[in-house]
Amino acid sequence: MAAAGDEYDPTPSDDELEAHLQTRNMVVNLGPSHPATHGTVRLRIELDGENIVKMDTEVGFLHRGFQKSCENVTWTQVLPYTDRLDYVAALHNNFGYLTAVESLMGVDIPERAKYIRVIGAELHRISSHLTTAGALSLELGGFGAFLFAIEARELITDRITELTGARLTTSYGRIGGLNRDVPDGWNEKVLKTLLKVEELAGEVDTLLSRNRIFTDRTKGTGVITKEAALDFGFTGPCLRACGVNYDVRKANPYWVYDKLDFEVAIGHNGDNFDRYYMRVIEIRESIKMIRQAIAQMPQGPVMVDDWRIALPPKENVYNSIEGVISHFKLVMEGVPVPAGEVYSATESANGELGWYLKSDGSGRPYKVHVRAPGYQILAGLAHMCEGKMLADLIPTFDTINMIGGEVEQ
């Protein structure tokens, strides 16, 4: 059976020069490996000419059994797995997970550790937003802004490397605080870095935000209404771009966010430009926050003083029975987390990163579930793109900033 549109229509047209093309809907795959989808996701798109009729988003290419793997290791050993969620901003996952475990245990971490967590998280927020803005520009044909963004991101990555010892897979922080304090002179270096980042982010802003080509491609494309965004479960910059004032840092302040002075960027149109511009503003706000945090940061320990949670100093482990017992039990059996369950959320670069943890009282998680913000937003991609032009899919896909690691776990 031939499909509709298959037969040649012999009806003569008014214009004798019109070409009577035999059009039929075509199904194309964008991904799972495609230069314009920076992330292994398969978009199965049904096209009528250049218009998207229907779109299926297929995830799972990066599925690695994250949640199940967590059940087989101690609470502390989960940490390296969390690096691989949103790998563009790993500290958000590290700290989010630790905060969830700490709230399940009822542990309050030292003040200094809270400030360092804020600084680390905001650095990685800047890093993630620069990547989003830079990649958006790159995929719309503007190479310059990408270079400025990545130069700034490199500077931040260097600071993160100095802090955690790793560029990407940070595994920084421990239950009850941090495994190490900031290096000597690091704070000053961060402040200097921020000056440079500010300048480079300004370049990106200047190059893009008033650029005719850029605004034409982003304004009014990939639109989603406030209501639809809420229905899909959008959070973070993508939700705020629709005009919803929701930021976990303000709605339910954790660490020391209540002591910092910052604004939450709110958009109006819910289109690609607003989503992009939310990030531009958030970069500025994050820089502001880091400066405040460094100024306010007190001296003191970065880890709770409790050998049921924190590893004893090596000197005690080698030379005292108390230290060796604590070390042995913490390493072999894990930190004893009391039986119970918790949902704890922090604001990651892409939105609300929620952790549902359940403990049976042993040293290993009974259940770990992550509400990764990217998953719900990716689910709304088809809604934003169906009926629109294929070319607008690319900036839309960029501004939602899907990260394969967290969506597919």
Binding site: Y318, S320, I321, S326, E333
Partner: protein
Amino acid sequence: MSDEKKVEAPKPAAPPPPGPPPPKNPGFVTLVIDGKEVVAKPGTNMIEAAKSVGSEIPYYCYHPRLSIAANCRMCMVESSAAPPGKLVPACQTGITEGAVIKTNTDKVRAQQKMVMEFLLLNHPVDCSICDQAGECKLQDYYMKYDFKASRLEGGKILKNKRKKLNDLIVIDQERCVMCTRCVRFMDEVAKAPQLGVFGRGSHEVVDVSPAYGKLESEYSGNIVDICPVGALLNTDFRFRARAWFLSATPSLCTGCSKGCNIYADFMGQDVYRYRPRENDAINKSWMSDTGRLMYKTINKHRVLRSLSGRGDAAKEISHPEAIKAATELLKAHAGKVAFMASPVASNEDLLAAFAFARDALKLTTVYVSGRPDGIADDFLRTADKNPNRKGLENIARAFGLTVKPFPELANAIGKSVKALFAVGAEVPEDEAVFAKRAAELSAFVMTATNESKVTAAADVVLATSTHIEDEGSFTQEAGITQRFRRAFPPKGDSLPNWKWAIELSTSLGLELKAAASSREVFKALSPSVPELAAFEWDKQAPINQKRPGITSLPTGADGRPPGWREQGVPNIRGLSLPRGT
């Protein structure tokens, strides 16, 4: 003013002090522990009463099957019946009507912390080389009740770190917390009061009384089990495995006909030790030293591949070849094959084997082999060193088979008996003697778990798995049938006895009414055995539970054999499904 006082009328006599309140629940003692009402029988230990309402009272020296010493001071609790301001030891204090017990107050916690600090004061930094690490009460309680750094300045007291008490037991006196469980065990249970406490204060040590010089008891291994720390060590297990890498399967000791309940601790396809498992009716919490070492038969000198040919001519053969060789020999001597079975085999093995003897070999008589009799005592050891003689007799009787003793067979070999099929290689006489007799057989087919002079004399040896490699049951001397669980799949190419019986029957042209598992063998063949008919095979299976303390990963990382998930019962977080459900 003073006058007024003088003229004051004398006070009326104080009312007599109230007697004890009438019991709230007659016949029981009702008290409150941590705000929860407990109704207990008079004489119930306070630690046990607290346990029943979920309050954990820590202890080292208390043991439910030993007398009360109350010397570790770890179980101190607050009681309304105690003198004001005093804590009382929960293990020693009787429960009284209306008493209010608190196990979790600041005062109790301070006491627990102090006790722990003192116990660790002179404890060596040994966890990394200590066998007890991972199942040590010092470690558990430190993390729960102390969790503070040491305040000790200066060195620790040094004592003897490796004193041999006998060939099996070594004591590390530095690690000892002086709970005296071992001293009380030897005195009260083993009835060999040879251990004692010597010295004073921090210099106290547990040692053998000089009058004995050496610990002499068949039950000395139990003091290693009851030692709450790593002071008493079993030389057979010492330094061989870390406790958290071992998985434990509830099983039975096969050392004698007593049927002591045990845990078999294993890693991969090797058993590392037997530990007694509690059973009030049979072995309480104990087992004998001989039984403790029975695990070695599972690991060493196993027949892992079936063999054909006698003596030096023996060569390994595959499973189909083994079936073919055995069938040919049995067919060639059809009607003239004698049948010998060892009471080391399980009920399921013998059900199938006797069905094979009766239906495929058309026999009416079976001979009983088995291990020779040994030393018995008035506690756990019995003279019959076979775990399932009762079961063998029950099944044979129900199957209409006459059971004849081994000597009748031994004397008839070479005369009236020319061909023999044996289940198990254990014989109650010298193996060399029996091997010499067997040389006169024209056909000798046997199933065997371990290599011996007897297996060397056989034409075909069918490699057989031990009880630890399959589910099954034994009937012990008093007629109690008990289930044991499978630890790991059969080693090498070995198969359980019941499987060999079924396959040989099939090969001889007879379809036995049983099939895939020992459970199905039992279900199919046990109803005709009156002693087994009522035995709830599934329900009686002890739960394959998670070992307490630190456990290994529920994946292959703990050294479990390949194919474990397919062949065995995965045991994850204490959950496992009984086989066949």
